[in-house]
Symmetry: C2
Subunit: 255 residues, 2 copies
């Protein structure tokens, strides 16, 4: 895709773009300030579901980023919305950190909703979910990311557990976070812009750039976070731009 | 495939065929006795890797089955053989029950060897394996089974974790148990028969019957264990015969 001529809104991935673990990436704090100063509207889109949005917000503020809590759109809240709108009875498989935000488990669940449980993934929990899937419950997954950049190196993301359950139960998950077109569309609607007025900045080729591309949004791929050489040479997913880091991407957007 | 005219050897899956959990399936004990009495040579082929062959042997004896320990061929021992023959330095991801049988972990592993860890699967362990795969270690998996029949219902098998690691690391595992052609070929070689002199009896359409079919061996699919309606109507995998249980299969083989 090509960069739009008149960018009004910027959708920004968090981990690997603005920060890694608890550390802001070099130059990211002032770059965000410049972007905001140029009058662009912003939305932070994250598939991180080990942490509630409120905690992410506090963490980002502590690193020096200027943002409001309402600007953060999480895959976990997208899942909660889907469950409520469809009147589903969820069996939540989520990290204890976000369990309260999601709500109680239904007594007789009719859907399995999977988030990133990190170290709380267990055989017993996965087997419980597997049995519900074999009984005909559909699988909703907050994300399908393969891995992310942790402070000590690449870390296995929840996509492994989605793929595993899909394989064993012979089902296909519905993803509600990135790269679901509805997730991007919700952000555009809240910002009051069309796809060709927005760009996305991310470090994940398939879920950030590919997802944005499918929603008609130009993507800027960063060489930070989980980026690995070759990510910018995919035959199917074409970033509108590849930049060394968030600051370099902002330079291109607001000069 | 068609049933051979002159069956000399029978390859027999264990869980879901002879027993479920610690219970022999109805009629299986006398049926095995009849099969042996008819002069057929036997091999028990199992992808179960939560339990060493010696313990499986004791368990089967206690249920009343007549067999010798040397007749049991396990995916775990196949993995150990592959590692030794190729001079690999393994990072073993296996159930504590079989860790001693497999041997020590290499200090600087050049391969990840995965078994069914059951409740011992952990995020930390999977992440360790994932990182080795991302550094270029190949993945050897003992099996890729989707699920098996446990005494309290269908249970998630190790295939889920193989599929998950494959997805996140972007690799493809080499399977050394069923349905690997080499696993069946090893059994035929030990028994001194050719593929068209053997049949396999199993409850797993893809790994038992499909695997045997790929090795040129006719498969008898049982309606016990993990069998689910529709398994006998696959477009790709054609059992030579479908039988209600092990005793019915033996009836067909030895009258």
């Amino acid at each position: 895709m090509e960069m739009p001529n008149d960018v009004k809104a910027v959708l920004i991935d968090l981990a690997g773009v603005l920060h890694t673990g608890d550390e802001a990436l070099a130059g990211a704090v002032p770059a965000l300030k410049r972007l905001r100063g140029a009058g662009l509207v912003l939305r932070f889109l994250t598939n991180t579901t080990r942490t509630p949005g409120s905690v992410l917000f506090t963490k980002l503020c502590r690193m020096g980023f200027e943002l409001s809590a309402g600007e953060i759109q999480t895959a976990a809240l997208a899942a909660r919305t889907v469950v409520r709108e469809r009147g589903l009875r969820p069996h939540w498989m989520v990290h204890p950190n976000i369990a309260g935000e999601m709500g109680p488990d239904a007594a007789e669940p009719d859907v399995v909703v999977l988030g990133d449980m990190g170290e709380h993934f267990s055989y017993a929990g996965l087997n419980r979910a597997f049995r519900l899937l074999m009984q005909g419950c559909p699988l909703i997954a907050m994300a399908r990311n393969r891995y992310f950049m942790e402070s000590d190196g690449l870390a296995l993301d929840m996509g492994a557990f989605v793929a595993g359950l899909e394989y064993s139960a012979g089902v296909r998950a519905e993803i509600v976070g990135k790269p679901a077109p509805a997730f991007f569309a919700a952000a555009l609607a809240e910002l009051g812009v069309t796809a060709d007025q927005a760009v996305l900045i991310g470090d994940d080729l398939s879920d950030d750039i590919g997802g944005a591309q499918a929603a008609g949004i130009a993507g800027i791929l960063l060489r930070t976070g989980k980026f690995r050489p070759g990510d910018d040479a995919s035959p199917d997913i074409r970033p509108a731009l590849t930049a060394d880091d968030f600051a370099a991407a902002v330079d291109r957007l607001v000069g």
